[in-house]
Symmetry: C2
């Protein structure tokens, strides 16, 4: 564990070796996280401009035994980016925001190489500029940075077709805990030369090194895209629709998102001007679906055909198929505003679980049943159902504040995670462990895996300076 603090004495001593604007007192923005459950200690932030500067910083911190918290866009939902108040040794916040250059684009190879601090939306845009697609897409794409997205192996809405962030990465540049630079920015689809350090770094949440650059996969843009919202019979019908859609459309389905009527109610309460797919009618269960097709196929026709056969089988009762880019954006705005509406309502408990696809109906039924036994809560269960990943969030009864239910919060969190675990699922599908879910990792993690993680952490970061207190205790 770190044995010293990044206090003003340490920063003063260090500042002689770096450009004058390298260090500053951390502004409020570095001390907050979106869920508002952790408050950062008011320490210092370093903002390097190059991999070499990151290397020098890590070396200096290693020598002094000072911890480092790598910081991307600050959008993480499990407080992996926060150095919390009240801990004995205050770490240095290492922000990658100044390393925001797209280093190279190779359209013919479908490869893009970026600094870790590039904002996701800018990578999407650079891909689009050469008629390619970088498919990673999530609500925070306007501020999340690629280094943090890799560090947490972010998910999002296109995992069904294109995989998680790890699946979109060909190579990494990483400053290791001893300050050495691993130059692994390969542009190769195949490279079987030793252990898979790339995937080990991805998803390690800054506890094994600082990602400074990444070589990313681009994809051809589908010739045409289509979007629809279906009203489904019940939660179980989501799987039936997915199965039918897969049989008709193969791998063309890029997003398959569950939405619940409570989400539309919350949206109506908090943002009444947002246009909703069925107006004032808030169906209980809906699926928002995106497809991307090759040349020669018509997405409207494909979605209409799907609706006709799904209606005949009693899976869906209604649907709207986007007739324009505007309508498409409207549908997606609803999906992306639901989490913001949720936050304004104030959840008693938020979850990011995944279960095996065929266990989804049992999961939903058991969660509903168990929560009903605790009290009269409202549930908004939504998310990436095509990946088996649900954000099943629990809200207080109308008119009551979540602050009245602190005991119930603990009880519900445990229940939901226990149910996911019993069904072969996980307590963290896409958000990671960070600081918020360390106890869950210790409780649900496989003992042999936890022992291996501990051994790897101690081997690569013997001084424990990398993101101390995150993931592992």
């Amino acid at each position: 564990m770190p044995r010293d603090s990044a206090d003003s004495g340490f920063i003063d001593a260090l500042s002689h070796h770096f450009p004058a604007d390298m260090f500053s007192r951390a502004e409020q923005s570095y001390l907050e996280e979106p869920r508002g459950r952790y408050q950062g200690a008011r320490g210092f932030v370093a903002r390097p401009r190059s991999t070499e500067e990151v290397s020098a910083l890590v070396k200096a911190c290693g020598e002094a035994g000072v911890g480092i918290v790598p910081y991307g866009g600050g959008t993480g939902l499990v407080a992996g980016q926060i150095a919390p108040e009240g801990e004995p040794d205050m770490p240095l916040i290492l922000s990658l925001e100044r390393m925001n250059t797209i280093r190279a684009v190779y359209p013919q190879e479908n490869v893009l190489i970026a600094d870790a601090g590039v904002i996701l939306a800018n990578i999407q845009k650079a891909a689009e500029d050469v008629d390619r697609l970088f498919p990673l897409s999530l609500a925070s794409e306007g501020s999340a940075r690629i280094g943090g997205l890799l560090g947490t192996n972010a998910g999002g809405v296109n995992v069904l077709r294109y995989g998680n962030t790890r699946d979109l990465c060909l190579g990494l540049e990483v400053v290791m805990p001893d300050g050495s630079i691993w130059n692994g920015l390969k542009r190769l689809r195949k490279d079987n030369t030793g252990y898979d350090l790339r995937n080990l770094m991805i998803g390690s949440e800054g506890t094994l090194g600082v990602i400074t650059g990444a070589s990313l996969k681009l994809f051809p843009r589908p010739a045409s895209i289509g979007t629809a919202v279906f009203v489904i019979r019940d939660a179980e019908a989501a799987l039936e629709l997915l199965s039918l859609a897969k049989s008709q459309l193969g791998e063309s389905i890029s997003a398959f998102e569950l939405m619940h009527g409570n989400g539309l109610d919350f949206l109506q309460q908090t943002m009444p001007d947002v246009r909703k797919p069925f107006g004032d009618y808030h169906p209980e269960w809906m699926i928002l679906m995106d497809i991307g097709l090759p040349k020669g196929l018509d997405p409207q026709e494909a979605l209409e055909n799907l609706f006709v056969s799904a209606e005949a089988e009693g899976i869906v009762s209604d649907a709207v198929i986007a007739q324009s880019e505007t309508q498409r954006n409207d549908f997606w705005a609803v999906r992306e505003l639901i989490p913001i509406a949720n936050r304004q309502i104030g959840a008693v408990s938020s979850h990011d679980v995944s279960v095996p696809l065929s266990e989804l109906p049992h999961f939903i039924a058991r969660v509903w049943q168990s929560i009903a036994q605790v009290g009269e809560f409202r549930i908004n269960c939504f998310g990436h159902v095509g990946d088996g990943n649900l954000h099943c969030n629990v809200f207080p009864p109308e008119g009551k504040s979540r602050d009245l239910f602190l005991e119930e919060t603990k009880q519900i969190k445990r229940m939901v995670h226990d149910i996911a675990n019993e069904l072969g699922g996980t307590f963290s599908a896409e958000h990671g462990v960070g600081r918020a879910k360390k106890a869950d990792l210790a409780r649900y993690g496989d003992p042999a895996k936890l022992a291996a993680m501990r051994a790897i952490k101690d081997a690569l970061d013997p001084k424990g300076i990398m993101n101390p207190g995150a993931v592992l205790s």
Copy 2:
């Protein structure tokens, strides 16, 4: 490093704790590898039937300080599966061949769970039986076992569309070097709970543990498939054709294989009865291409359209499009028999390199040029060009034996790997490191990565019992 041998004393002592048929003297088949460059020491083989038996064996070997060589189908091309003669401590060969049960199939989830010893062709068949596809495909699929394919992260002909073996795996069961069992057989598409132990084990070639089971991804079968062989203008035209094909067919291209006229010549010499795509005409450069399309598109038509536009641009001069399943199989038989013909001819040097896609033409030109300076060799350069992966093999002049060129072998090997490395490529795209390419790893590997590999190996296998002598020295 191991400090004791799996000699008859050790086996006698151990055999009381296991079923009578657990151990036997290793038959010749365990002592050979396909390239014939290594000869195994005549030691003992253990053939466990369960994960618990593997665990007990690993524990016992750990206590005695005896090494273990995990053994799948024996088809590896870099001698990772061989305990070579003449080393001080003879390891135990641990064959997974009796663990050959498909544990479960979940068609709705597109998941299959198999023991490590299941032969690839049987997994493909089990997927087909539920109208699904397991896309891993390579020449040795009739004998390679899934544990070995995962251990080496095998590639093959469908990587372009479906990825390497690691991309086809959702979860693993592994016996760790201390004998503990990591139960990671999840059926989840998303699980962000700690370090990516799965990908660390995949491709570690048995040096970090013994894979005993795997949870694998299945895919929808394409509604229709098409196959064609194109005669291309020159090696550079391969990239132009790939680019054009991607723009017309998006991600529908499942295989894009380069073939060279010398390969057809060798086939003619060694297996004259094999039907070749253009009969006696052996074009210099050809592409064998597979596409799989969704409903509503016609593969013949798609391939014809591609030919017309490629011919108009001067990329291709001729093509045959398979008109039947038989003709399709004929084309693929040629592709898969070329490596066997190569072995009969006897290569001076064989390679498994990959380079960034846009460097392929430079790579081929530089290799040709450099080898011409060494002498009058024949080159058969073929393989998975869509992935940037070429098997660029060098043969003696007609009528001469490769044994006359031992000095040139070393020189050529070094030259080809140097060129690949200079162009940002790798000396091992899909075969791994094993024992045959350890010196290359030490020469070309990134120092920070090598240090991390060493630290991880020592942390997880402090006694060095797992596949001693493979990958790392």
